[in-house]
Symmetry: C2
Subunit: 213 residues, 2 copies
DNA sequence: GTCTATACCGTGATAGAC
DNA sequence: GTCTATCACGGTATAGAC
Protein backbone atom coordinates (compact mmCIF):
# COMPACT_ATOMS: atom_id res chain seq x y z
CA UNK A 1 0.00 0.00 0.00
CA UNK A 2 1.61 3.25 -1.13
CA UNK A 3 -1.05 5.43 0.52
CA UNK A 4 0.97 8.55 1.19
CA UNK A 5 3.20 8.31 -1.82
CA UNK A 6 3.87 11.91 -2.83
CA UNK A 7 2.98 13.53 -6.13
CA UNK A 8 4.93 12.62 -9.19
CA UNK A 9 6.15 16.20 -9.34
CA UNK A 10 7.13 16.21 -5.66
CA UNK A 11 9.01 12.94 -5.97
CA UNK A 12 10.92 14.32 -8.91
CA UNK A 13 11.72 17.46 -6.93
CA UNK A 14 12.98 15.50 -3.93
CA UNK A 15 15.16 13.13 -5.87
CA UNK A 16 16.45 15.89 -8.12
CA UNK A 17 17.42 18.02 -5.15
CA UNK A 18 19.34 15.17 -3.59
CA UNK A 19 21.18 14.29 -6.78
CA UNK A 20 21.93 17.89 -7.76
CA UNK A 21 23.39 18.50 -4.33
CA UNK A 22 25.42 15.31 -4.31
CA UNK A 23 26.69 15.25 -7.85
CA UNK A 24 26.05 18.66 -9.35
CA UNK A 25 23.72 19.74 -12.11
CA UNK A 26 25.60 18.62 -15.19
CA UNK A 27 26.57 15.27 -13.75
CA UNK A 28 22.98 14.41 -12.92
CA UNK A 29 20.99 13.04 -15.84
CA UNK A 30 17.23 13.06 -16.17
CA UNK A 31 17.37 9.31 -16.53
CA UNK A 32 19.03 8.95 -13.13
CA UNK A 33 16.39 11.18 -11.56
CA UNK A 34 13.36 9.52 -13.11
CA UNK A 35 14.72 6.04 -12.41
CA UNK A 36 15.32 6.74 -8.72
CA UNK A 37 11.99 8.57 -8.40
CA UNK A 38 10.29 5.67 -10.18
CA UNK A 39 8.58 7.84 -12.72
CA UNK A 40 8.73 7.97 -16.47
CA UNK A 41 11.45 9.92 -18.22
CA UNK A 42 8.97 12.19 -19.97
CA UNK A 43 7.37 13.15 -16.65
CA UNK A 44 10.10 15.71 -16.02
CA UNK A 45 9.43 17.59 -19.21
CA UNK A 46 5.71 17.27 -18.68
CA UNK A 47 5.72 18.71 -15.17
CA UNK A 48 8.63 21.13 -15.38
CA UNK A 49 9.27 21.79 -19.05
CA UNK A 50 13.00 21.13 -19.10
CA UNK A 51 15.96 20.10 -17.00
CA UNK A 52 16.85 23.75 -16.52
CA UNK A 53 13.36 24.56 -15.32
CA UNK A 54 13.48 21.59 -12.96
CA UNK A 55 16.61 22.95 -11.40
CA UNK A 56 14.95 26.30 -10.96
CA UNK A 57 12.02 24.68 -9.17
CA UNK A 58 14.30 22.72 -6.89
CA UNK A 59 16.10 25.92 -6.14
CA UNK A 60 13.12 28.18 -5.52
CA UNK A 61 11.56 25.76 -3.08
CA UNK A 62 14.38 26.49 -0.64
CA UNK A 63 15.42 29.99 -1.57
CA UNK A 64 12.05 31.68 -1.17
CA UNK A 65 11.69 30.74 2.54
CA UNK A 66 15.32 31.63 3.17
CA UNK A 67 14.91 35.11 1.76
CA UNK A 68 11.70 35.49 3.73
CA UNK A 69 13.55 34.57 6.92
CA UNK A 70 16.21 37.16 6.27
CA UNK A 71 13.64 39.88 5.68
CA UNK A 72 11.75 38.84 8.80
CA UNK A 73 14.93 39.10 10.86
CA UNK A 74 15.57 42.47 9.31
CA UNK A 75 12.08 43.70 10.18
CA UNK A 76 12.44 42.45 13.71
CA UNK A 77 15.81 44.12 14.15
CA UNK A 78 14.67 47.46 12.77
CA UNK A 79 11.60 47.39 14.97
CA UNK A 80 13.81 46.88 17.99
CA UNK A 81 16.63 49.30 17.30
CA UNK A 82 16.55 52.66 15.64
CA UNK A 83 20.09 52.34 14.27
CA UNK A 84 21.13 48.70 13.95
CA UNK A 85 24.86 48.05 13.81
CA UNK A 86 26.53 46.70 10.71
CA UNK A 87 27.29 43.47 12.53
CA UNK A 88 23.66 42.95 13.54
CA UNK A 89 22.61 43.55 9.94
CA UNK A 90 25.10 40.99 8.72
CA UNK A 91 23.75 38.55 11.24
CA UNK A 92 20.20 38.85 9.91
CA UNK A 93 21.54 37.28 6.78
CA UNK A 94 23.87 34.76 8.35
CA UNK A 95 21.49 33.36 10.95
CA UNK A 96 18.88 32.09 8.46
CA UNK A 97 21.65 30.58 6.33
CA UNK A 98 22.96 28.84 9.40
CA UNK A 99 19.52 27.61 10.40
CA UNK A 100 18.86 26.25 6.93
CA UNK A 101 22.20 24.53 6.86
CA UNK A 102 21.31 22.71 10.07
CA UNK A 103 17.89 21.53 8.87
CA UNK A 104 18.21 18.22 7.04
CA UNK A 105 14.52 18.32 6.12
CA UNK A 106 15.18 21.37 3.99
CA UNK A 107 18.32 20.06 2.35
CA UNK A 108 20.70 20.87 5.17
CA UNK A 109 24.26 22.05 4.82
CA UNK A 110 24.59 20.44 1.44
CA UNK A 111 21.77 22.52 0.07
CA UNK A 112 23.21 25.74 1.42
CA UNK A 113 26.36 24.85 -0.42
CA UNK A 114 24.44 24.22 -3.62
CA UNK A 115 22.56 27.45 -3.16
CA UNK A 116 25.63 29.54 -2.49
CA UNK A 117 27.59 27.90 -5.20
CA UNK A 118 24.83 28.50 -7.70
CA UNK A 119 24.59 32.16 -6.76
CA UNK A 120 28.35 32.55 -6.82
CA UNK A 121 28.63 30.83 -10.15
CA UNK A 122 25.93 33.12 -11.48
CA UNK A 123 24.22 30.23 -13.19
CA UNK A 124 22.44 31.08 -16.38
CA UNK A 125 19.44 29.23 -14.98
CA UNK A 126 18.80 31.81 -12.32
CA UNK A 127 19.63 35.14 -13.79
CA UNK A 128 16.24 36.22 -15.01
CA UNK A 129 13.90 34.59 -12.53
CA UNK A 130 15.80 35.35 -9.40
CA UNK A 131 16.66 38.91 -10.15
CA UNK A 132 13.06 39.80 -10.80
CA UNK A 133 11.72 37.95 -7.81
CA UNK A 134 14.15 39.03 -5.15
CA UNK A 135 14.98 42.60 -5.92
CA UNK A 136 13.14 43.40 -2.69
CA UNK A 137 15.85 41.56 -0.83
CA UNK A 138 18.58 43.78 -2.20
CA UNK A 139 16.54 46.93 -1.81
CA UNK A 140 15.83 46.24 1.84
CA UNK A 141 19.45 45.47 2.65
CA UNK A 142 20.66 48.45 0.68
CA UNK A 143 18.40 50.76 2.65
CA UNK A 144 19.45 49.18 5.95
CA UNK A 145 23.14 49.48 5.18
CA UNK A 146 22.73 53.01 3.91
CA UNK A 147 21.50 54.01 7.35
CA UNK A 148 24.23 52.08 9.11
CA UNK A 149 26.96 53.45 6.83
CA UNK A 150 25.86 57.00 5.97
CA UNK A 151 29.39 58.10 5.11
CA UNK A 152 29.33 56.06 1.87
CA UNK A 153 27.78 57.16 -1.39
CA UNK A 154 25.47 54.75 -3.17
CA UNK A 155 28.21 53.52 -5.46
CA UNK A 156 30.73 52.85 -2.72
CA UNK A 157 28.02 51.13 -0.70
CA UNK A 158 27.08 48.90 -3.63
CA UNK A 159 30.68 47.78 -3.96
CA UNK A 160 30.96 47.04 -0.25
CA UNK A 161 27.77 45.01 -0.27
CA UNK A 162 28.87 43.19 -3.38
CA UNK A 163 32.14 42.18 -1.73
CA UNK A 164 30.47 41.30 1.56
CA UNK A 165 27.88 39.01 0.05
CA UNK A 166 30.55 37.48 -2.17
CA UNK A 167 32.58 36.37 0.83
CA UNK A 168 29.56 35.14 2.73
CA UNK A 169 28.13 33.13 -0.12
CA UNK A 170 31.55 31.75 -0.85
CA UNK A 171 32.05 30.77 2.75
CA UNK A 172 28.78 28.90 2.79
CA UNK A 173 29.52 27.37 -0.56
CA UNK A 174 32.39 25.68 1.20
CA UNK A 175 34.53 25.81 -1.86
CA UNK A 176 37.69 26.75 -0.08
CA UNK A 177 39.26 28.68 -2.87
CA UNK A 178 42.58 28.18 -1.18
CA UNK A 179 42.01 24.51 -0.51
CA UNK A 180 42.72 24.00 -4.18
CA UNK A 181 46.25 24.94 -3.30
CA UNK A 182 46.39 24.16 0.37
CA UNK A 183 45.52 20.50 -0.08
CA UNK A 184 44.41 19.08 3.23
CA UNK A 185 46.63 20.87 5.72
CA UNK A 186 44.16 23.59 6.59
CA UNK A 187 40.61 24.72 7.26
CA UNK A 188 39.16 21.25 7.25
CA UNK A 189 36.44 22.16 9.71
CA UNK A 190 33.17 22.30 7.82
CA UNK A 191 31.23 23.24 10.92
CA UNK A 192 29.05 26.18 9.89
CA UNK A 193 29.37 27.81 13.32
CA UNK A 194 33.11 27.78 12.88
CA UNK A 195 32.78 29.46 9.51
CA UNK A 196 30.64 32.21 10.97
CA UNK A 197 32.93 32.81 13.90
CA UNK A 198 35.77 33.64 11.57
CA UNK A 199 33.67 35.11 8.81
CA UNK A 200 31.80 37.86 10.66
CA UNK A 201 34.80 39.89 11.84
CA UNK A 202 36.23 39.83 8.33
CA UNK A 203 33.03 40.95 6.64
CA UNK A 204 32.19 43.64 9.17
CA UNK A 205 35.68 45.09 9.05
CA UNK A 206 35.56 45.16 5.27
CA UNK A 207 32.19 46.87 5.28
CA UNK A 208 33.06 49.63 7.73
CA UNK A 209 36.56 50.31 6.46
CA UNK A 210 37.03 54.01 5.69
CA UNK A 211 37.52 55.09 2.08
CA UNK A 212 41.21 55.89 1.65
CA UNK A 213 42.25 59.42 0.79
CA UNK B 1 50.91 28.71 -48.68
CA UNK B 2 50.20 28.24 -44.97
CA UNK B 3 53.80 28.77 -43.94
CA UNK B 4 53.38 29.94 -40.34
CA UNK B 5 50.21 28.06 -39.65
CA UNK B 6 50.52 26.95 -36.04
CA UNK B 7 50.53 23.38 -34.77
CA UNK B 8 47.32 21.45 -34.79
CA UNK B 9 47.54 21.33 -31.01
CA UNK B 10 48.19 25.07 -30.75
CA UNK B 11 45.32 25.94 -33.04
CA UNK B 12 43.02 23.80 -30.93
CA UNK B 13 44.28 25.53 -27.79
CA UNK B 14 43.71 29.00 -29.21
CA UNK B 15 40.22 28.34 -30.49
CA UNK B 16 39.25 26.44 -27.37
CA UNK B 17 40.39 29.25 -25.13
CA UNK B 18 38.37 31.76 -27.05
CA UNK B 19 35.23 29.65 -27.05
CA UNK B 20 35.52 28.56 -23.42
CA UNK B 21 35.90 32.19 -22.39
CA UNK B 22 33.02 33.38 -24.53
CA UNK B 23 30.51 30.61 -23.98
CA UNK B 24 31.70 28.56 -21.04
CA UNK B 25 32.98 25.00 -20.86
CA UNK B 26 29.76 23.02 -21.08
CA UNK B 27 28.27 25.15 -23.83
CA UNK B 28 31.31 24.65 -26.02
CA UNK B 29 31.34 21.40 -27.98
CA UNK B 30 34.38 19.71 -29.44
CA UNK B 31 32.72 19.94 -32.82
CA UNK B 32 32.57 23.73 -32.60
CA UNK B 33 36.22 23.85 -31.62
CA UNK B 34 37.52 21.50 -34.28
CA UNK B 35 35.41 23.10 -36.96
CA UNK B 36 36.63 26.61 -36.21
CA UNK B 37 40.22 25.42 -35.82
CA UNK B 38 39.89 23.52 -39.09
CA UNK B 39 41.09 20.25 -37.67
CA UNK B 40 39.51 16.84 -37.37
CA UNK B 41 37.24 16.04 -34.47
CA UNK B 42 39.42 13.18 -33.30
CA UNK B 43 42.46 15.46 -33.14
CA UNK B 44 41.37 16.79 -29.76
CA UNK B 45 41.33 13.41 -28.15
CA UNK B 46 44.56 12.47 -29.89
CA UNK B 47 46.47 15.53 -28.70
CA UNK B 48 44.87 16.15 -25.32
CA UNK B 49 43.11 12.94 -24.34
CA UNK B 50 39.71 14.39 -23.51
CA UNK B 51 37.67 17.57 -23.40
CA UNK B 52 38.45 17.88 -19.69
CA UNK B 53 42.16 17.58 -20.34
CA UNK B 54 41.91 20.15 -23.11
CA UNK B 55 40.39 22.60 -20.67
CA UNK B 56 43.20 21.95 -18.25
CA UNK B 57 45.78 22.69 -20.93
CA UNK B 58 44.04 25.89 -21.94
CA UNK B 59 43.99 26.86 -18.32
CA UNK B 60 47.57 26.04 -17.41
CA UNK B 61 48.98 28.00 -20.32
CA UNK B 62 47.82 31.21 -18.63
CA UNK B 63 47.86 30.30 -14.96
CA UNK B 64 51.48 29.23 -14.72
CA UNK B 65 52.88 32.61 -15.87
CA UNK B 66 50.40 34.45 -13.67
CA UNK B 67 51.48 32.58 -10.57
CA UNK B 68 55.10 33.14 -11.54
CA UNK B 69 54.44 36.88 -11.78
CA UNK B 70 52.92 36.96 -8.32
CA UNK B 71 55.85 35.14 -6.80
CA UNK B 72 58.27 37.44 -8.60
CA UNK B 73 56.49 40.49 -7.19
CA UNK B 74 56.59 38.89 -3.78
CA UNK B 75 60.31 38.23 -4.03
CA UNK B 76 60.94 41.78 -5.16
CA UNK B 77 58.88 43.23 -2.34
CA UNK B 78 60.52 41.15 0.33
CA UNK B 79 63.95 42.03 -1.00
CA UNK B 80 63.09 45.71 -0.73
CA UNK B 81 61.33 45.82 2.62
CA UNK B 82 61.97 43.86 5.76
CA UNK B 83 58.35 43.94 6.87
CA UNK B 84 55.99 44.49 3.92
CA UNK B 85 52.56 45.82 4.79
CA UNK B 86 49.43 43.74 4.31
CA UNK B 87 48.32 46.07 1.54
CA UNK B 88 51.57 45.73 -0.37
CA UNK B 89 51.28 41.94 -0.09
CA UNK B 90 47.76 42.06 -1.45
CA UNK B 91 48.98 44.18 -4.32
CA UNK B 92 51.57 41.61 -5.35
CA UNK B 93 48.64 39.40 -6.19
CA UNK B 94 46.35 42.03 -7.64
CA UNK B 95 48.86 43.69 -9.94
CA UNK B 96 49.63 40.60 -12.04
CA UNK B 97 45.91 39.84 -12.28
CA UNK B 98 45.34 43.37 -13.48
CA UNK B 99 48.19 43.15 -15.97
CA UNK B 100 46.89 39.88 -17.36
CA UNK B 101 43.41 41.27 -17.67
CA UNK B 102 44.75 44.10 -19.80
CA UNK B 103 46.75 41.88 -22.14
CA UNK B 104 44.55 40.71 -25.02
CA UNK B 105 47.33 38.48 -26.31
CA UNK B 106 47.06 36.39 -23.18
CA UNK B 107 43.31 36.22 -23.12
CA UNK B 108 42.67 39.59 -21.52
CA UNK B 109 39.98 40.47 -19.06
CA UNK B 110 37.77 37.68 -20.29
CA UNK B 111 40.40 35.11 -19.43
CA UNK B 112 40.90 36.50 -15.95
CA UNK B 113 37.20 36.09 -15.49
CA UNK B 114 37.32 32.51 -16.71
CA UNK B 115 40.28 31.83 -14.47
CA UNK B 116 38.72 33.32 -11.38
CA UNK B 117 35.39 31.75 -12.04
CA UNK B 118 36.97 28.36 -12.49
CA UNK B 119 38.89 28.68 -9.25
CA UNK B 120 35.86 29.98 -7.39
CA UNK B 121 33.68 27.23 -8.76
CA UNK B 122 36.29 24.72 -7.70
CA UNK B 123 35.98 22.88 -10.95
CA UNK B 124 36.54 19.17 -10.79
CA UNK B 125 38.92 19.58 -13.72
CA UNK B 126 41.47 21.44 -11.67
CA UNK B 127 41.42 19.99 -8.22
CA UNK B 128 44.22 17.47 -8.48
CA UNK B 129 46.54 19.08 -10.97
CA UNK B 130 46.45 22.60 -9.64
CA UNK B 131 46.77 21.80 -6.00
CA UNK B 132 49.89 19.75 -6.57
CA UNK B 133 51.50 22.24 -8.86
CA UNK B 134 50.88 25.47 -7.02
CA UNK B 135 51.23 24.64 -3.39
CA UNK B 136 54.33 26.82 -3.47
CA UNK B 137 52.09 29.77 -4.18
CA UNK B 138 50.07 29.24 -1.02
CA UNK B 139 53.11 28.48 1.09
CA UNK B 140 54.86 31.65 0.03
CA UNK B 141 51.85 33.84 0.71
CA UNK B 142 51.15 32.12 4.00
CA UNK B 143 54.66 32.81 5.17
CA UNK B 144 54.49 36.42 4.02
CA UNK B 145 51.17 37.05 5.75
CA UNK B 146 52.35 35.31 8.90
CA UNK B 147 55.09 37.89 9.21
CA UNK B 148 52.75 40.76 8.44
CA UNK B 149 50.06 39.52 10.84
CA UNK B 150 51.98 37.88 13.70
CA UNK B 151 49.06 38.25 16.11
CA UNK B 152 47.12 35.50 14.33
CA UNK B 153 47.55 31.78 14.85
CA UNK B 154 47.93 29.58 11.81
CA UNK B 155 44.27 28.65 11.81
CA UNK B 156 42.95 32.20 12.05
CA UNK B 157 45.38 33.24 9.36
CA UNK B 158 44.22 30.47 7.04
CA UNK B 159 40.63 31.65 7.41
CA UNK B 160 41.55 35.24 6.71
CA UNK B 161 43.49 34.30 3.61
CA UNK B 162 40.68 32.07 2.48
CA UNK B 163 38.20 34.91 2.74
CA UNK B 164 40.56 37.43 1.19
CA UNK B 165 41.29 35.35 -1.88
CA UNK B 166 37.62 34.50 -2.17
CA UNK B 167 36.66 38.15 -2.54
CA UNK B 168 39.49 38.91 -4.86
CA UNK B 169 38.83 35.99 -7.19
CA UNK B 170 35.16 36.79 -7.13
CA UNK B 171 35.78 40.40 -7.95
CA UNK B 172 37.89 39.44 -10.94
CA UNK B 173 35.39 36.81 -11.94
CA UNK B 174 33.04 39.72 -12.42
CA UNK B 175 30.09 37.66 -11.35
CA UNK B 176 28.48 40.38 -9.34
CA UNK B 177 26.76 38.17 -6.83
CA UNK B 178 24.42 41.03 -6.08
CA UNK B 179 23.83 41.84 -9.70
CA UNK B 180 21.59 38.81 -9.77
CA UNK B 181 19.32 40.85 -7.57
CA UNK B 182 20.35 44.38 -8.41
CA UNK B 183 19.61 44.05 -12.09
CA UNK B 184 21.26 46.86 -13.95
CA UNK B 185 21.02 49.75 -11.53
CA UNK B 186 24.43 49.31 -10.00
CA UNK B 187 28.10 48.49 -10.36
CA UNK B 188 28.04 48.36 -14.10
CA UNK B 189 31.61 49.51 -14.42
CA UNK B 190 33.69 46.54 -15.49
CA UNK B 191 36.89 48.53 -15.48
CA UNK B 192 39.43 46.42 -13.58
CA UNK B 193 41.08 49.48 -12.08
CA UNK B 194 37.74 50.48 -10.63
CA UNK B 195 37.33 47.05 -9.11
CA UNK B 196 40.72 47.26 -7.46
CA UNK B 197 40.16 50.75 -6.13
CA UNK B 198 37.15 49.56 -4.16
CA UNK B 199 38.40 46.05 -3.53
CA UNK B 200 41.70 46.73 -1.80
CA UNK B 201 40.38 48.67 1.21
CA UNK B 202 37.79 45.98 1.83
CA UNK B 203 40.25 43.10 1.67
CA UNK B 204 42.94 44.78 3.73
CA UNK B 205 40.47 45.80 6.44
CA UNK B 206 39.13 42.26 6.59
CA UNK B 207 42.63 40.82 6.85
CA UNK B 208 43.86 43.06 9.63
CA UNK B 209 40.65 43.10 11.67
CA UNK B 210 41.33 42.13 15.29
CA UNK B 211 39.94 38.86 16.61
CA UNK B 212 36.94 39.72 18.79
CA UNK B 213 37.02 38.88 22.47
C1' DG C 1 -5.01 15.79 -17.19
C1' DT C 2 -1.60 12.35 -16.45
C1' DC C 3 1.46 9.01 -17.85
C1' DT C 4 4.07 5.94 -21.14
C1' DA C 5 6.90 4.36 -24.96
C1' DT C 6 9.73 5.63 -28.35
C1' DA C 7 12.17 8.25 -31.69
C1' DC C 8 15.37 12.23 -32.73
C1' DC C 9 19.50 14.65 -32.80
C1' DG C 10 23.79 16.40 -30.62
C1' DT C 11 27.42 15.09 -27.38
C1' DG C 12 32.25 13.02 -26.07
C1' DA C 13 34.88 9.08 -26.95
C1' DT C 14 37.21 5.31 -29.54
C1' DA C 15 38.77 1.67 -32.84
C1' DG C 16 40.95 0.92 -36.97
C1' DA C 17 42.29 2.18 -41.79
C1' DC C 18 45.52 5.09 -44.08
C1' DG D 1 49.43 12.13 -37.21
C1' DT D 2 45.17 12.14 -39.38
C1' DC D 3 40.68 10.70 -40.73
C1' DT D 4 36.18 7.99 -41.05
C1' DA D 5 32.80 5.32 -38.90
C1' DT D 6 30.58 4.07 -35.02
C1' DC D 7 29.34 3.89 -30.21
C1' DA D 8 26.69 4.91 -25.88
C1' DC D 9 24.61 8.56 -23.56
C1' DG D 10 22.58 13.12 -23.04
C1' DG D 11 18.09 16.30 -23.22
C1' DT D 12 13.97 16.83 -25.72
C1' DA D 13 9.55 16.21 -28.39
C1' DT D 14 5.57 13.75 -29.56
C1' DA D 15 2.02 10.30 -30.42
C1' DG D 16 -1.04 7.79 -28.08
C1' DA D 17 -2.82 5.00 -23.90
C1' DC D 18 -5.43 5.55 -19.69
Amino acid sequence: MEANRPDTATRILDVAEQLFVEQGFEATSLRMITQQAEVNLAAVNYHFGSKDALFESVFQRRLAPLIASCLAELDQLEAKEEHPSVESLVMTFIRPCLALSKDPARGGALFVRLLSRTLVENHRLLRETISQQYSVFVQRYTRAFRHALPEFGVEELAWRMHFAFSVMFNAFAGNDVLKIFFRSQIVTARDPDMIVKHLVPFVVAGLVAPVPG
